[in-house]
Symmetry: D2
Subunit: 476 residues, 4 copies
């Protein structure tokens, strides 16, 4: 099970690294507050920092800080943001770079005026690009890829007729995952890397175009889903409407579409590249029921990410779906962890078992993934202590074996339990009566035959991973 950073850390955590949301009202209407609600519905994609940049009277202004959308934006500062074009960003990052300087959107001045950039994904050649730029005198104030992209766009813009053309010319330099929003005072540009690693979709409500990481954000602002941005496509929205530049489409040999968006990251009410996230989770559960059947009395999910696959398992197997856990929703970022005498209670504070529901029962427990495996055993034990006679664990993804370099913080190989033990051994270590993972060769059924990246499971990266890390942040 993989959980949001701020409120649900029950055991291991994986994180999406960002969400973006932009809007353009072509009649000049003020849509700044839309970004607030859009980011709010993308909060699961990043809980560390957030920001909004607006273009008001062809002047770009912004506000960003560490914290949840709810915390960063107050009625006072939201009231100061107005504009007919606006973009926003929510961000997660690994500990080292959780600093204010890295909050997005990145707003800069460059040769043609102002530019705001919001980016979801990870470049694999960021270090090389930085070095090359530094060799030409560049200075870097952050460790985010958006700053690299801003430089590349600025560099191209010097010799190039429009900002969208500068984005087009910068793209060949940028290798890796990016779902990108670029706002100039007059234009909203969206670009998705040719591999399509990260989702990006287009919606519309009346005179307002919306671009967002997930369709759930379109629903939130009442926008109708129009279509996904295609891998390699550049979208330009200006007063006259939306135009598309497909010169880079169909260039990637392999798809980079992240299967883990379906397994865990995305909100279940989103539809990515035509496939419902919810349906894909139900399907994962069904496949598990077919491939790893077992006799039992109850199918339960580890809340909340395991619930949908559990429902799928129940539907397919005919074993009743039920509930075994109560999660405490009040565990926030400021939660004080127990020490000494209370340490063994750590999981229980966040997750309690419904004893009456599991006592004397054979349980099938569905979770979305196992990373380090350190606390999964605790949960199995909690079920047994509550009287479950058997606990069969089913995981709605294949075993993690390789790190991700494209915007997900799957840790390095040493820390992944599946690199050290067999499935049987892991099951035993957890105290489970059986353990079954989703079969790699059936995973494609989850996404109705779409192509996707499964490198975290089989190491087959669509793009060569980076060989060096970026140097650490300086702010603290």
């Amino acid at each position: 099970m993989i959980k949001q950073k701020d409120s649900c850390q029950i055991k291991e955590e994986l994180h999406e690294e960002c969400g973006v949301f932009g809007a353009y009202n072509t009649k000049g209407g003020d849509i700044a507050s839309w970004i607030y609600y859009g980011l709010f519905s993308l909060q699961h994609r990043g809980q560390e920092s957030c920001g909004i940049a607006v273009s008001e009277n062809r002047d770009i202004r912004y506000y960003k800080d560490m914290g949840l959308v709810n915390e960063v934006f107050t009625p006072e500062n939201l009231d100061k943001l107005h504009g007919d074009i606006a973009i926003g960003h929510v961000r997660y990052s690994t500990a080292g770079s959780s600093v204010r300087a890295n909050a997005q959107p990145l707003v800069t001045k460059y040769v043609k005026g102002q530019l705001a950039i919001a980016h979801n994904g990870n470049l694999v050649n960021a270090v090389d690009l930085r070095e090359e730029l530094e060799k030409n005198g560049a200075i870097f104030q952050t460790t985010i890829d958006s700053e690299v992209i801003a430089y590349l766009v600025a560099r191209e813009r010097v010799h190039c007729p429009s900002v969208e053309e500068a984005v087009f010319r910068a793209m060949p330099y940028i290798q890796g995952a990016y779902s990108l929003l670029v706002m100039s005072p007059r234009k909203l540009i969206a670009a998705r890397d040719p591999y399509g690693f990260k989702p990006l979709c287009i919606g519309k409500r009346d005179d307002t175009w919306v671009v967002a990481s997930e369709t759930c954000a379109l629903d939130t602002v009442g926008a109708e889903f129009i279509r996904d941005v295609e891998p390699g496509e550049i979208i330009v929205i200006n007063e006259e409407g939306l135009a598309s530049d497909r010169r880079y489409c169909n260039l990637a040999e392999k798809s980079g579409r992240c299967i883990f968006e379906y397994i865990y990251f995305a909100r279940p009410d989103s539809v990515i590249d035509g496939v419902s996230v919810f349906n894909s989770r139900i399907m994962a559960g069904k496949i598990l029921a077919q491939t790893h059947p077992v006799e039992a009395d109850l199918v339960v999910g580890v809340p909340e990410s395991g619930n949908d696959a559990a429902m799928g398992y129940a539907l397919e197997s005919g074993i009743p779906y039920g509930r075994a856990f109560v999660k405490n929703n009040y565990v926030g970022r400021t939660f004080i962890k127990p020490k000494q005498s209370m340490r063994e209670q750590s999981v229980k504070i966040k997750l309690n078992v419904l004893k009456d529901a599991v006592k004397g029962k054979r349980i099938i427990m569905i979770d979305d993934s196992i990373v380090r495996g350190t606390t999964s055993g605790n949960i199995v034990q909690m079920l047994k202590n509550a009287g479950a006679t058997e606990v069969h664990v089913r995981i709605s993804s294949p075993p993690f074996k390789y790190p991700c370099y494209f915007g997900t913080d799957i840790p390095n190989r040493d820390q992944l339990i599946a690199n050290h033990y067999t499935v049987e051994e892991i099951g035993e270590m957890m105290g489970a009566d059986s353990l079954g993972y989703l079969d790699l060769d059936r995973m494609g059924e989850m996404v109705e035959g779409l192509e996707y990246c499964q490198a975290c499971f089989n190491g087959d990266y669509p793009l060569a991973p980076p060989t060096r890390d970026i140097r650490g942040d300086m702010e603290f």
Copy 2:
């Protein structure tokens, strides 16, 4: 559906007014931090203010403030609280008295030293008691009942050999609902009113006695459930252990046990007076399926409080249990409500429909209650907009018709929709294809035959309601 104040206001809200948690380590061990975790698991009972009082070296100290347990207590101030006896409180209140002065525990000095009081429930004769005390020169600095109780105990203690005896002598004056913790520097006393309105239970872990509003809090600190405090019972815990005073037990003619704890307030993993809250909700769903059957494709709950009854309905009816909604868990107290152009999005920001799950389906939607009915219709409409062909609403409680005076903020009769319209009319107003409430005469099955208070449904109050309100708060 009735929701927690801070994070889940989807439509109408009802609130529990408090939760209490106390602990005593009879070997002198420090259990102050237990209260933090105990309160944390009772946070659903009150999100407005909270506090902890400890007895360290026979000296009582406290800290309390407005906010969630997570917000009020920091590592710094929690580290300053130590003691082998401690009590804590979480509080909800109606707007007027949401002031810092009213946070609990109330800590006072009186004739025999120090006293800390934490109280769940509402007295019905508080105004009379205040007037009587004022006529003898009392001054009041808050509008909470704990202050009245402190006065009564202090008054008795002048002529009485022990604090527990003072509590005993004060009880006849106190009419209404109270699950009460009283801490002196050397003793922890718990008392439950003879009607047993509010839950209160006893647990133990090694040398530590725990008293809490709900058993889920015992689980959180790893304490074993011993038994419920009986209606009318006074429990005294001191260095020598636990003693019970049952002189007031069995005195009430009617039970005041709040059925709404089972329907909505309590956490599903709690067991109150021997009945599992989870089971009672499953049972409510089953009864609904028996009494209000309908042909349909899917049974769904309005999250999260409707989910358990929905599972019960599904089990009984054989119609598959499913999921129709995704709730945004990031809606906190500081959430900025949309204005103007976005207003119609208000519910959608908090609750989105899984279109793929409901499209073309006949849905049975289970919610726990209808108060004003103002937004239930929106949710029905959301399902229909998403393509549901039929929406049948089932409510896992009878229609609210009467206000509660014992610790729940059910509003006055005028605001309760069930006093103005028939069930058919309400269903029509909601746009539901049918509407069914839990039958009043079958409600008892939820609690396995326990006696209970159902005054909010039929006006049959176990104790005469108050005739006057307390005057308003002065702090703001």
Copy 3:
């Protein structure tokens, strides 16, 4: 030298314990914000907590918290306070009771409605009164004297026709120092103890009566000084104007008027009981010049409290007045004290010497008092290090030998350096070339012959000091 707590701790500190300010607009005009500015000008009398209570539409409301007036009151909360009657309070306290519960005004409900109390001074029989009240069932939630006074007034009010009569009847029970404001929904009452320990004055501007601790607060709100409240007098202001009850006037055998208000506490622009504080300080300097003359090149004050007496010394002696120090005004309460390698810099960070002004000069350095004497030597040394050839220290008050029990935190006898060493010894310990204190028998010239309390210098208390301390605070 004795300094304000928050920003000027250069060496020893003494503190006034409170300031009060009240206003009543007899035509119903809103004067709530006057209290803000009045308290602001009395901030030197207490920097720990503050509060304002207003009577709006005959309903009393309040806001108070820890912090400076500037910090506690924001435009938002000040905008919520309206009324034609209002009182405010600024408070200092010794460390133990620096808790939020002790902030004033104390607002209570009692037999006849609402009551707000703000108090400057210390009762000497508070412990006895508390015990007596507790024996009748009272509970105490704070350790401030205002709570005792509120009880006494409430007790009398039960059998008494008006609140002002209740104040009158309560006064015989209250022994000690009090300059008191009592606000009922319709009246503003001011009372000063028969000894006149603490100042209290009356002003008027158009239809608004003002009562304040010092006249500087009248200036701030543009009110004209009318007269001081007499020792023992009770003032009642209602819609019809101001009335006076002098039944307790002239009852005290001795005056309790605090000479230290003139020496250090009060603002120099205040006039107390007819004597200008500024003039009294100039006079102290002149007397020092007469009684402790010395040949020198420059007279300087330790900023800021020594400056006025230094000017007086210069005027009388003919030696030029000059400046030797620059104080850093940015030392606030959150200033981080140096550790280890920087410790010897501690005084220098707050106070630097003007080397060019003192080099090669014989300096007379005036300070207002010496308490523990621990850091005065540092300042003398700083002057010598900067090149002063001689440093003659003159103190504008006699040596402190006895603690104060009436509202000043002069520490106990053991800690007062003058109880352990002769004047010569103290001078030597400081490294001064000579040391001279104000002569006790000439101190009266400072206040133009007014009677006053000089107990801190000679132990001759106008009222017997208390024999017991109040028990400690419970909040932290």
Copy 4:
């Protein structure tokens, strides 16, 4: 009178724009906390934002934010800053760019690693430099000159053997005022522009070199003054000690030394380029007494900046120096300004008159400058209302006629009263009985014959002022 922004706004305000402080312990000792105290003593040079960057183990880290040193740095974050090299900055700015992004030091990565820059002064060709850099692809994230300087240094460093050489090569591009600190992981570099606009001095304590805007900061950390950095000089401090590069010294035709540092900006305990600031103010007062004598009873300063010149006037004229005002030191940045009925009190809240000191007297009132002249009249009127029979105003600087482009926010010509009225007219408008300014041709006596910039008085700029403004900030 010109006042600090945060606490003393009595009338018009002028602001210094920055202060810098750096230290290097050549034995590897931790001196991070020195920066805190150094900045603290330079707080008068900028109260808007501040920051500290350290080099610890050859890695640069920083913390900066809006607020006073006291507010930004807590024990927690100060404890995280360690290093043997460190620089800090305090900043003031005009309203538009008071944003967090503009706080300094600016810390960047560039071709050779890390770089931190802190800068006092204003470039006159910043807009041109930005445009040129942008034409080569640069992006700008702030509007501060430090970012321009960082780019120039980074650009040079690409082709140049050391960071100090890069600073050297960048300097010809940089026109305007700069007292600059540059920290690389191993070096501390200080540079002062060839005009010497802003002060910069060197101190030493044991193994630690210190570079600071003013000598008062050396005193604060116990460092001995070594010498001023010469105009045009580059200082390099590394493990081996301090080296100097004077290749740009003596290049400027005119001195840019800011006379206003002596008149108002600098702390009186500082010595700049060999002249004591205190002495220069005393001298200004003496010159005023010689050039604008008048019969009177008392010489007073408008606190606090007028006091020293007032002492000089008194010394020269033989008229006694006295005190006429009491300033409220508690007026902080969050002070709520009076509205409506209290508006006329606005000045009085901050400044009250000592009526007893001025009544019946002829007063000479010394202030340091008049900018817009809007409130000076109020102060004269306050003296007259308090009974002064005559008020003669003397200003310790010549009339302001021209704006400053080198780091002081003297407003544009239209807003300067001296451009609209004669001295006589201004005196009349203020209600003064006479008005005298310091004579421009005698001003040099203040600084003992040093060369200086007097462009704000006579428009004779040592360097051509900029023709264009930088575009506004985007953050808010």
